[in-house]
């Protein structure tokens, strides 16, 4: 004990310095946006590399399951391919009109127990991924990319309180905005649907084409509860998601080829 105190006294200046240095780094981080983004970029790089390593070990033990999932997805794609071969006549028409480019990626870190969740994937700027790009999985949407480094990107998960997705009803096209309230990872809320539209339990919700991130018609979930407030013109609708975001392995980043044109139009409009 005496030795410990002696050692502390001997290095008291250094310890004091390190403590104050930490304080001033926090101060720096608070005050300057540039330094804040610099630090968060470093922490993203470090944490993504660590997660890549640990995920590699974990993945080794679930290889069998992943193989099975991939086989299932392959079968589905094969079916699509066959169906597509069947209608070969209008091939070029479909591909040229479809304005999204698709890149596959693997999730190396995923969280779903906070109110603002982020996902990290193993593709980055080097693979042509940019911020503000949508991300989907085999059975629904996952989120929107908000930060990229050279080899990794972080995604604003669908389970993030501040993310709002344009969604519409499959049967009649009535649209609203889909958001997460921070409770259960499969329950979402659909707001801003006008009471002029007939709505019933079990209706399917798909992505609306009005967002820059996602194409029209990706299935999202089904209506589980409807409330109609007395004095407002909008429904309160609860949605059950189809996809389970707590056990995703592979995702697809979809980049809108025409986003520059859309943004330009939006800018023109707002001026």
């Amino acid at each position: 004990m005496q030795q410990l105190i002696n050692a502390l006294l001997k290095y008291k200046n250094s310890l004091f310095y390190i403590g104050l240095l930490l304080l001033s780094l926090i101060f720096l981080n608070q005050r300057s946006f540039y330094h804040q983004s610099f630090f968060s970029n470093i922490s993203l790089t470090v944490s993504s590399r660590m997660s890549l390593f640990s995920q590699g070990i974990v993945n080794y033990f679930s290889l069998k399951k992943i193989n099975q999932q991939l086989r299932l997805e392959n079968e589905k794609l094969k079916a699509f391919e066959l169906a597509y071969q069947h209608n070969k006549n209008n091939k070029s028409a479909i591909f040229e009109s479809f304005g999204f480019k698709i890149t596959s990626a693997r999730i190396i870190k995923n969280s779903y127990n906070k109110t603002r969740n982020f996902i990290i994937i193993n593709k980055g700027e080097a693979d042509g991924i940019k911020t503000d790009t949508g991300v989907i999985s085999s059975d629904g949407i996952v989120g929107v990319i908000n930060q990229t480094t050279e080899n990794f990107s972080s995604i604003l998960s669908l389970l993030h309180r501040d993310l709002k997705i344009n969604a519409s009803f499959k049967k009649n096209g009535a649209y609203g905005s889909l958001s997460w309230e921070g409770n259960h990872p499969k329950k979402m809320k659909l707001d801003d649907v006008s009471t002029l539209n007939p709505v019933s339990i079990g209706d399917t919700i798909v992505t609306g084409g009005m967002s820059n991130y996602f194409p029209y018609g990706i299935p999202l979930g089904a209506v589980s509860k409807i409330e109609r407030p007395k004095f407002e013109g909008y429904y309160d609708i609860d949605i059950d998601l189809f996809s389970n975001l707590t056990q995703k392995e592979f995702v697809y980043v979809i980049k809108n080829r025409n986003i520059d044109q859309i943004k330009k139009l939006n800018n023109d409009e707002s001026q």
Binding site: K12, N13, S14, F16, Y17, L20, L21, L23, S24, L25, F27, L28, Q30, R31, S32, Y34, H35, F38
Partner: protein
């Protein structure tokens, strides 16, 4: 000793306000603002408490950043220069490091100048590295460090002359 402490407090406040309200607005040639507040760390007596100086360095930088809406670079660089001052004193004065007012009198001129140059250039280098914090602006960091250090050195050297006359 009591008089010394009082002088230190007065010097601290005077240099802080001089730096925050006058010297930071000079913008000579567009980018040169001499950091005269370093004088406080330079003339702090060699035999005084080093832990206190570390705290004063932190406090000085923090107040300066708050007064000038700085990002926090002054805090880190002033703190660090206060921390490594004993090392600089030892390298520049060698055997004479225990003369309490060695930075003004009692030592050789070249040792004093080396001490000043070390203190000023290390502080400025750190300051601009933290402000720019990117490899791409390496040349801008060097340029700023060089020119600002030079002007700070001139001002500090002149001010030290004033100190000497005052002490006589």
């Amino acid at each position: 000793m009591n008089r010394n402490n009082l002088l230190s407090v007065f010097r601290f406040i005077f240099l802080l306000f001089l730096q925050a309200f006058l010297l930071n607005n000079i913008n000579l040639f567009g980018f040169i603002n001499p950091n005269l507040y370093l004088l406080f760390f330079i003339v702090y007596r060699f035999d005084s408490n080093p832990s206190l100086l570390i705290f004063l360095g932190f406090f000085m930088g923090l107040l300066l950043d708050l007064l000038t809406q700085g990002s926090g670079a002054h805090t880190i660089s002033a703190l660090t220069i206060a921390f490594i001052r004993p090392i600089i004193i030892r390298t520049s004065f060698g055997i004479n490091y225990d003369i309490p007012m060695g930075m003004i009198e009692g030592t050789q001129l070249n040792q004093r100048i080396i001490y000043l140059l070390f203190m000023i250039s290390i502080h400025h280098l750190l300051l601009y590295i933290i402000i720019y914090l990117s490899l791409d602006s390496f040349l801008i960091i060097l340029k700023n460090t060089l020119f600002t250090s030079f002007f700070t050195f001139v001002m500090v050297y002149i001010s030290l002359g004033l100190f000497k006359r005052h002490n006589d």
